[in-house]
């Protein structure tokens, strides 16, 4: 009987319609948000926003934020916060620039060194949180100021009094690794598309969009990797378990401490990647780099369906959360609205997302 192909159905369990199943996906809110924002801007904004160049225009800042948001989302699913990622961008940027300019290291050394450095700072963050048992909110809030302050002090020390360190472009221009972290990818492809008249071109025949900005590729690759790890590896299960209930997870043999500290390190490395990309791109670093990005990243993760209490969320959601962000920031310039509506919009989105997530959580846990 137990081997029959159709298992007996419990008559008390209603079969779920497709829509109800869809409602339980954590990324649903963010996808719905993207659709709403697209509808909003297709009505109000200039048509060029949704041209290829307009798309690259809003995807570029969305990617820089999104890389941070994916890290923040994984950490939130693991049940912790990191408010220091914005400052970490500045601090890692400083370290990277000092490596390249003051020490004259090639990128092949400077980049791994920056990641190791960021990973160590993340590990310090994580270790303090885990060992002390204090809320990560308060520990990383302290690091928000510590790292921002250290970036300022360090910049002045490295430059002899300035809060901006220039000259990264000259130092990296000829390095073979630069194209992986700056500029546009696949220029040949876009030139070929332009020749055939499939993409918009300037009068002289060069394509309006010379290639895909590399940060967009990084963003997509990191999202896919994070999703794979979360859904298809034991480590992903441990992240959900550690965030869902620390005691239950460690009683079941999940190495909770290791998982959480690794997540802090990962988040710091995401910040370091954004620092490297933006510093090479701008050719300089300054102390305000990454300012308030920690809040924007957490907001993108929350819009993407992560619960503030941990144990639930998705990287795909954070991906779309960051895209909503980029579309709003850049999209407003295509409309007649005052740019400063941006913050109002941001707060509103956050509020709606939290209310929505709360309802979803009740549905999933069967709370009434």
């Amino acid at each position: 009987m137990e081997n029959s192909s159709t298992p007996p159905v419990d008559e008390r369990v209603k079969s779920q319609p497709f829509f109800a199943k869809l409602m339980q996906r954590p990324e649903l809110g963010a996808i719905a948000g993207v659709i709403l924002v697209v509808i909003f801007f297709s009505i109000t904004a200039d048509g060029s926003m949704f041209s290829l160049s307009g798309f690259m225009n809003f995807m570029s800042p969305a990617s820089q934020l999104g890389i941070l948001a994916i890290g923040a989302a994984l950490l939130m699913i693991g049940g912790e916060f990191d408010l220091s990622i914005g400052s970490m961008v500045a601090f890692a940027g400083l370290f990277f620039a000092v490596c390249v300019i003051n020490w004259g290291l090639p990128l092949a050394v400077a980049i791994p060194l920056t990641f190791v450095f960021a990973g160590c700072v993340g590990a310090i963050n994580g270790t303090i949180v885990i060992r002390s048992g204090l809320p990560s909110f308060i520990v990383t809030l302290a690091f928000l100021f510590i790292l921002r302050g250290l970036s300022l002090v360090g910049l002045k020390a490295a430059t002899g009094g300035s809060t901006q360190l220039r000259g990264v472009r000259d130092a990296t221009e000829t390095d073979w690794l630069t194209p992986f972290f700056s500029g546009d990818a696949f220029p040949g492809l876009f030139a070929w598309l332009a020749e055939n008249g499939w993409v918009e071109t300037f009068k002289n025949g060069t394509p309006k969009v010379p290639g895909i900005p590399v940060e967009i590729l990084w963003f997509v690759v990191i999202t896919l990797l994070a999703t794979y790890v979360l859904l298809r590896t034991p480590a992903g299960n441990w992240v959900f378990a550690a965030g869902g209930d620390t005691t239950a997870a460690s009683n079941s043999g999940v190495p909770v401490t290791r998982v959480k500290i690794s997540l802090f390190m990962l988040t710091a490395c995401c910040a370091a990647l954004v620092a490297i990309i933006t510093v090479i791109d701008a050719g300089s670093t300054d102390a305000r780099r990454g300012f308030q990005k920690e809040f924007e990243a957490i907001i993108a993760a929350v819009i993407g369906g992560c619960l503030l209490t941990g144990g639930y969320g998705s990287a795909i959601g954070a991906f779309f959360g960051a895209i909503i962000f980029g579309m709003v920031v850049i999209g407003l310039t295509y409309t007649d609205f005052d740019q400063d509506w941006f913050q109002v919009f941001l707060g509103g989105m956050l509020l709606i997302a939290v209310l929505f997530n709360n309802a979803i959580r009740k549905r999933v846990t069967g709370e009434r």
Binding site: P7, T233, G244, G311, G366
Partner: protein
């Protein structure tokens, strides 16, 4: 459960005990939580540990499952002296404990809870990944064996009833090769129907040759499935009785540790 509605009680008197605990004492500072407890469990039996609140039940099972180290006394596992330093050690030896909080995460699916910390993998090196199809299949099969039909393996544990969650926890312990299953008050928060489901699950587990330690303060639940009964009172065992050798009233009195219970029960018409 069998057709006539009664359980086949294990007759394990001949078998050697899997775990034997001799004169266990446990002191916390100047508090003597356990003052000489002896207890053993044999394969295929359900040994009930009864006691009122504060009798030392929780301390005792925590000692048995490796959370606490006994101050004095000896633990024999399959005849050899054993000392567990962590719950993980005990788990690996085959002593699985289902605590009251069940170690379940409501937001996660049944499959993810079932394999939490022990995920099956496929592939090698960088491609080593969580074998979710196999995990889903095992979960559905194991749950069906215990008489629970899930809507799907991705159903969140939060949507299950208390009795079903208890069953998931038991099925998980059995699947991962438990020789001894310690159940900490599995029926204390359940309704009538769910309680009988859990008791039926205990019966199924026992029939697989696993020794079950059933901790309860409810004599009726214990008598429904138990083969032997040990009463714990004020940190000491008051003796072990076999099924049929002791009446519910005697058990109740032993647990309460005195005669005043008889008077109280009289005034309540024997309903406690």
């Amino acid at each position: 459960m069998t057709d006539d509605g009664t359980f086949h009680h294990g007759d394990a008197t001949g078998a050697a005990p899997i775990v034997e605990m001799k004169n266990i004492e446990k002191h916390f500072g100047n508090i003597i939580a356990l003052a000489g407890v002896s207890f053993d469990v044999r394969p295929g039996e359900c040994h009930c540990l009864l006691g009122d609140n504060g009798a030392g039940k929780s301390t005792f099972i925590k000692t048995m499952s490796g959370v606490h180290k006994p101050t004095k006394g000896e633990i024999l596992f399959e005849g050899k002296p054993m000392s567990f330093s962590t719950p993980r050690d005990a788990m690996e030896a085959g002593i699985a404990t289902v605590f009251q909080d069940l170690a379940m995460i409501p937001l996660m699916s049944v499959t993810r809870n079932f394999f939490m910390g022990r995920e099956p993998t496929k592939g090698k090196g960088l491609l080593k990944r969580f074998d979710i199809d196999y995990a889903n299949e095992v979960t559905m099969v194991e749950m069906r064996k215990m008489g629970i039909n899930l809507r799907g393996p991705d159903q969140a544990v939060g949507t299950l009833s208390g009795g079903e969650r208890q069953t998931v926890a038991i099925a998980r312990a059995v699947h991962f090769g438990a020789k001894v299953l310690i159940l900490d008050e599995p029926t204390s928060a359940l309704g009538v129907r769910q309680t009988s489901n859990v008791l039926a699950t205990i019966d199924k587990v026992r029939n697989q040759g696993i020794g079950v330690v059933f901790i309860s303060h409810n004599v009726r639940h214990a008598l429904a499935v138990g083969d032997r009964f040990t009463v714990l009172n004020r940190g000491q065992t008051l003796g072990t009785a076999k099924r049929g050798d002791i009446s519910p009233e005697e058990l109740q009195d032993l647990m309460a540790g005195g005669q005043e219970m008889a008077a109280l029960e009289g005034s309540l018409g024997g309903t406690v």
